[in-house]
């Protein structure tokens, strides 16, 4: 306080200083914002169950093939026809399929494809959606009208119809083409959401304050407004993963998405459905994996929604 004393400052705020160190409630306030959000998240039991399941699932799909022997999804392990369509055994925990391939290895490999497609298309859709929404909401006027009517047009077309029509001509059955297609249908809700956030946040005083200190459009949009809109965007992105997994599975199930030699959970369901009366496991394994993944993603999304409460109340 040297400078201030020389300037004859009344030692403002200093009298409350000691309490900061001794009052537990105030010490608690020293938690960083990230910590507050994390604490709030782990108190939500459903979200934690979802998060743990997702972590296990990622380990299963991406680390599983490396540490177990179930790493040859295309290898025909049993040639004896009597041994195909086998039930669970120590050698093949999920059994074998009609041609004698290891179902566990196939579930892992399919999961890699499904999860990667869902994640990457989520990221692409969020980047596109945030950019479009940010420009529309921040600049308003004619830019807003053009961008948002374009968004509405895409939203107004029946999704699956367009997806199937487009996939016939624009995808070649590789994960890359499916990612592009799915992300093209994912950004609209993010764009709307971000536009709404920007519309309301750009009138906040701290944004006006940023203008008065000479900040330009991009700085205001991406440094001042976007971090404050992060909560809804993160929640939306999480839920989008679930939507993307479903979309990919539906496309692959109908034969428009992933095609051999690649496989995903969707193609596994499609392959397995013909043997439902003989070996229901072939259908149930990928279907349950899809079901629990989407469920967990949604639980985590809801948990994040609560944890990222913008009012930052201490709980």
């Amino acid at each position: 306080m040297d400078i201030s004393e020389r300037l004859n400052v009344p030692s403002t705020g200093e009298e409350i200083e000691p309490f900061l160190e001794v009052t537990p409630q105030l010490v608690q306030q020293r938690r960083s914002q990230g910590r507050i959000i994390f604490d709030r998240f782990i108190r939500n039991r459903a979200a934690i169950v979802g998060a743990i399941f997702l972590i296990l699932l990622f380990l299963f799909c991406f680390v599983g093939p490396l540490v177990t022997t179930h790493n040859q999804p295309d290898q025909i392990h049993v040639t004896d026809v009597a041994q195909t369509l086998a039930g669970p055994s120590w050698q093949f925990p999920f059994g074998t399929d009609d041609t004698g391939r290891d179902m566990m290895a196939r579930a892992m490999a399919g999961g890699q494809v499904s999860l990667l497609i869902a994640l990457i298309s989520m990221f692409m859709a969020v980047i596109v959606g945030v950019s479009i929404g940010a420009f529309a909401g921040f600049y308003g006027g004619i830019i807003d009208t053009l961008l948002m009517r374009f968004t509405d047009v895409i939203l107004s077309v029946p999704l699956y119809l367009l997806l199937f029509v487009l996939s016939a001509s624009f995808t070649d059955g590789s994960p890359k083409s499916v990612i592009l297609l799915i992300s093209f249908f994912g950004w609209q809700y993010a764009a709307r959401l971000v536009r709404g956030e920007f519309l309301s946040l750009r009138e906040r005083e701290y944004v006006l304050a940023a203008r008065t200190i000479g900040a330009k459009g991009f700085r205001i949009m991406f440094r001042h407004i976007l971090p404050n809109a992060a909560g809804p965007i993160i929640v939306n992105a999480t839920l989008l993963i679930g939507v993307n997994i479903i979309l990919e599975s539906v496309m692959s199930y109908f034969g428009f998405g992933i095609k051999p030699p690649n496989s995903s959970w969707g193609t596994l369901v499609s392959d397995g459905q013909g043997f439902f009366d003989v070996d229901p496991l072939l259908l149930m394994v990928p279907a349950l994996l899809i079901f629990f993944t989407v469920l967990s993603v949604n639980l985590v999304g809801d948990g994040l929604r609560d944890a990222l409460d913008p009012y930052m109340t201490e709980r």
């Binding site: 300037l7 701290y206 304050a209 200190i213 404050n228």
Partner: protein, 337 residues
């Protein structure tokens, strides 16, 4: 400091400033159906090192004036001459350069500090934007600014939500000071604060004014606060200045019935006097700034209104006394409170 002692230099000269906000109807084809005349032809000057207090009730346009001067809004008409340059029509890089010298402190310190920034980065941001010095120099200046406004430099990595209202407002002041402005618009800087910390912030502002030779436009609705800080006071009513005078003269000899009514509303902390004194209580509300009354704007609520007031808009002209201006047909009849 010497400069101001020798002669007064006009730093800010507002000439016939108008700020109209269009009212539109329609979703696709927007038609303008009228204007909110928030600021409707205002002129005043502020001399370097002085404080002009701008008072008026809610909706009188005082905040709009402040925001127009820092060019958050583009004025509809008129000139904002700051140091011989007209800000009103300026844009782009030029405006950015000028903005460095004109800063603003907002009313609500709970809304004007971005909750995602640490206070260090809040204060440092203007310096980063204008590329003043290296990162280490900026860091040093930031902690220096914190101590100038009476906060510990160790707080640099804390977030705004960890501070009280008064502390936050001091952070906002430090931020405005960081690029060495000459002129600061203070938009009700203490009205969101507890009475107990108001004096702290006001004294800080006055100390900084002396220290850095700052010029203030102090917007407020609180006459007792303005009396404490302002050299000259402008009273606004419905988008116009109705009276402008030196502080003591305005309090001693108001020339406009609105000022008189405002002064009579200041509570006196003595129940004996309070009981005996005559209060002028204005009836009704501030008229809408979309449909402004004809003649004198104040005639709908004025206790002294005559026929002429309904018909003729009084000129804002010089009255008796030192640099005393008012817009009233009957300013001689206004009695001090």
């Amino acid at each position: 400091m010497a400069e101001t002692l020798v002669g007064s230099k006009t730093l800010l000269d507002i000439r016939d400033l108008k700020m109209y906000f269009p009212l539109t109807r329609g979703i696709v084809l927007q038609r303008v159906i009228g204007y909110v005349r928030a600021v409707d032809g205002i002129s005043f000057t502020i001399e370097q090192g002085q404080t002009l207090g701008l008072v008026g009730e809610s909706g009188s346009g005082k905040t709009t004036i402040g925001r127009t001067i820092v060019r958050l809004y583009k004025p509809t008409e008129g000139q904002i001459i700051f140091d011989n340059q007209d800000l009103a029509q300026m844009g782009g890089e030029h405006l950015r350069e000028i903005r460095r010298r004109v800063q603003m402190v907002f009313q609500d310190p709970f809304a004007s500090l971005n909750p995602r920034f640490t206070i260090g980065s809040l204060i440092a941001e203007p310096m980063h934007i204008y590329n003043i010095g290296s990162s280490s120099e900026i860091r040093e200046k930031t902690s220096e600014l914190l101590s100038v406004v009476g906060l510990r430099p160790e707080y640099i990595n804390r977030y705004p939500h960890e501070f009280s209202g008064g502390q936050r407002q001091r952070i906002a002041v430090a931020r405005a000071l960081s690029i060495n402005p000459e002129f600061i618009v203070l938009d009700e800087p203490v009205s969101a604060l507890d009475v107990s910390v108001r004096a702290q912030v006001l004294n800080l502002l006055q100390r900084l004014q002396n220290q850095f030779n700052l010029t203030y436009l102090f917007v407020s609705h609180d006459l007792s606060v303005v009396r404490h800080v302002a050299d000259r006071i402008a009273v606004m009513y419905l988008g116009r200045i109705v009276e402008l005078a030196d502080r003591d003269e305005l309090y001693a000899a108001p020339k406009h019935p609105y000022t008189q009514a405002l002064l009579s509303s200041i509570p006196i902390p003595d129940p004996q006097i309070e009981k005996r004194r005559h209060r002028i209580i204005l009836s009704g509300d501030l008229p809408s700034s979309i449909n402004i009354p004809s003649g004198c704007r104040f005639h709908t609520r004025c206790p002294m209104a005559q026929q002429i007031c309904r018909e003729v808009d009084p000129i804002f002209e010089r009255k008796e006394g030192r640099e005393h201006y008012a817009a009233c047909h009957f300013s001689e009849e206004v009695r001090p409170v």
